[in-house]
Amino acid sequence: MRDYFLRRLLLIPPTFIGVTLLVFAITRFVPGGPLERAIMEARTSETRRGGDMGRSSTSEEQLADLKAYYGLDKPIPVAYVQWLGKVVRCDLGTSHRFNEPVRDLITQRLPVSLVYGGITLALTYGVCIPLGIAKAIRHRTGFDNATSALIFFGYAVPGYALGAILIVFLAARAEWFPMSGFVGENFSDLSIWGKVVDLAHHAVLPLVCYAITSFAFLTMLMKNQLMDNLAADFVRTAVAKGVSFKTAVLRHALRNSLIPLATHLGASLTVFVGGSYLIEFIFDINGMGLLGVQSIFDRDYPSVMGVLVVSSLVLLTGNVISDMLIALIDPRVRFK
């Protein structure tokens, strides 16, 4: 078990290097990169201001900074190793869109994404597992059919589309919920309790949208797995020993059914850090998803790489955690 855990942990650094190296290399080849942009900006400002030498020298300075940060004058491997060395020292460079250290940008946004991601994860698993169990046990009853109809509606409607609908009807028309934002404008003046309420009030609609993305999938996965296992030979053996139906479900079928859900947990963690660009965009939430996508559009490569570093680290550790969970549930994995 400990060897297995160690082996999984040791796989993190090479995977991390592979992912970041790939993106690092791409940023050097894709046209419209930071250097070209900086040069273009410098030219336009030069022509606009008619040879204002002070402005252009800042660009020159920026250019030099950029070159130094990326090591653009060096071959990719050398430049990458230099960059990695800075990352290890927690230096993620400076965003040229925000003119702020990327580390600060991320520390502002990561908590937002973690709060939404964490609640979404707890909510989906907390609801999908019991719901899937109830549906499996009451297969083809009124309850099962009604919830299935709801679930498939949710499956057909993407999270961001639902977000738009919810904003129009529940926020704009009915004014039950705020239209957007992570917290209200007067957040800092509120009491602790008021802050919690304000946060929750802002969170309801986005959370519904986040949750709906994997809700149908997880519920049906749980239901189908449990039904398969309820029909399995070993459950029949258990019943033949004299256990009740309830015990057969809870003690014998359920744990086996959780194995694929634990496998999926790793993928679910993407939302945890990555957030969802579209949902964050619609609800104007300043999370990692928005930062990542906009940085790509603006060719703000220090931010792109910064977001990538954080999210890939979280994802890789997440995958190890989900592997550990599987090993806890399934001895066949543990004793390989």
Binding site: A231, A232, D233, F234, V235, R236, T237, A238, V239, A240, K241, G242, V243, S244, F245, H252, R255, N256, I329, D330, P331, R332, F335
Partner: protein, 336 residues
């Protein structure tokens, strides 16, 4: 009433609801299983052996399977009418069951010890340590080496033969009055098969239980059983003491089965005689005798009237219009 049968099945009718409508899988089956003796049930695949066993255990797949009629008198009580709670006591406590597939019959995520101790906790004791001690003892009983180590292991760490021994240990743990074994050795190697059958005989001698042994191997029947029931198409073709069936087979189907087993020693047949033709599907069973399309003795009457059960000798019954001719024909072919 010491010599009243431990199990008496009377006119059992079991049906399944399928997409194509209701099919009767077991149609009016009656037999007795005597105390301390072994009853064999033999017949081709799909003739209703397992469904009969599952009906007795009230383990039919739900909600499709249903007992439509008849009585299952176990120790004087009708199991067909028993409540679920009463069945919890019977299953594992008074009737043990051994299934065909040792590879899937055990729960992959629980240790051998836990699965075996569960039987004792359900029927014998509330003390976990005591249950585990009994489990180790039982494993020793079924010939598993170093049982103290094995209780901590998981099913995938054991060979097929060892797993079947564990399944047998679970079935016999509470010293049931009856053990139903549904093809306990079909999935095992020939050498392991013999070991498992020996083990069952040895345990029967020690514990004095009755065995209902389902198989399609007449060799196993000859070796293990006192009485035999031959089933065909959900009905009983012939039943009686093993010697009577082997020496005086009175149903054309039984004769076909006996002719199809290879004889060691004696005059060697160049080719096995197998019964030509196929069993009709349950939903298009013809009226009259179900064996008619494969029977060399079939006459018009067989296509109209269902043959009644007739006595060949005390305890030896057959369901064939022409059993006398069959017996006479057998005598002829034996002398020729």
């Amino acid at each position: 009433m010491a010599d009243a049968p431990i199990l008496e099945v009377r006119n059992l009718v079991t049906a399944f609801d399928t997409d194509a409508g209701q099919v009767i899988a077991v149609d009016g089956v009656s037999f007795q299983c005597h105390r301390g003796r072994t009853l064999g049930i033999v017949g081709e695949s799909g003739c209703g052996k397992s469904v009969t066993a599952l009906s007795i255990m009230r383990l039919l797949p739900q909600p499709m399977g249903r007992i439509l009629g008849g009585e299952i008198l176990f120790d004087g009580r009708d199991l067909a009418q028993a409540t679920p709670e009463q069945m919890y006591q019977v299953r594992g406590g008074k009737i043990g069951m051994i299934f065909q597939e040792p590879m899937t019959a055990l729960n992959p995520v629980h240790t051998i010890g836990r699965q075996l101790a569960e039987v004792f906790l359900l029927h014998k004791t509330r003390d976990r340590a005591e249950a585990l001690r009994l489990a180790i003892e039982m494993l020793k009983h079924v010939g598993i080496p170093s049982p103290e180590v094995r209780v901590g292991e998981y099913p995938h760490q054991l060979s097929g033969g060892m797993r079947q021994r564990v399944v047998i240990a679970m079935a016999l743990a509470c010293r049931p009055q009856l053990v139903i074994a549904d093809e306990p050795t079909t999935a095992l190697d020939v050498t392991i098969q013999a070991q498992i059958l020996d083990l069952m005989q040895q345990l029967q001698a020690e514990l004095g239980m009755s065995i209902m042994l389902i198989t399609h191997d007449l060799g196993v029947i000859a070796e293990m059983c006192d009485d035999v029931v031959v089933m065909y198409g959900g009905r009983i073709a012939e039943s009686g003491p093993v010697e009577a069936i082997f020496e005086n087979p009175s149903h054309p189907y039984t004769r076909g089965l006996l002719d199809s087993i290879p004889r060691l020693g004696g005059q060697r047949k160049s080719r096995l005689r197998i019964i030509d033709g196929m069993v009709p599907a349950l939903k298009d069973m013809p009226p009259g005798c179900r064996f008619q399309n494969r029977c060399p003795f079939a006459v018009d009457r067989c296509r109209k009237d269902q043959p009644a059960i007739e006595q060949v000798a005390p305890g030896h019954a057959v369901a064939c219009h022409r059993w006398r001719e069959v017996v006479a024909g057998a005598a002829v072919s034996a002398t020729s």
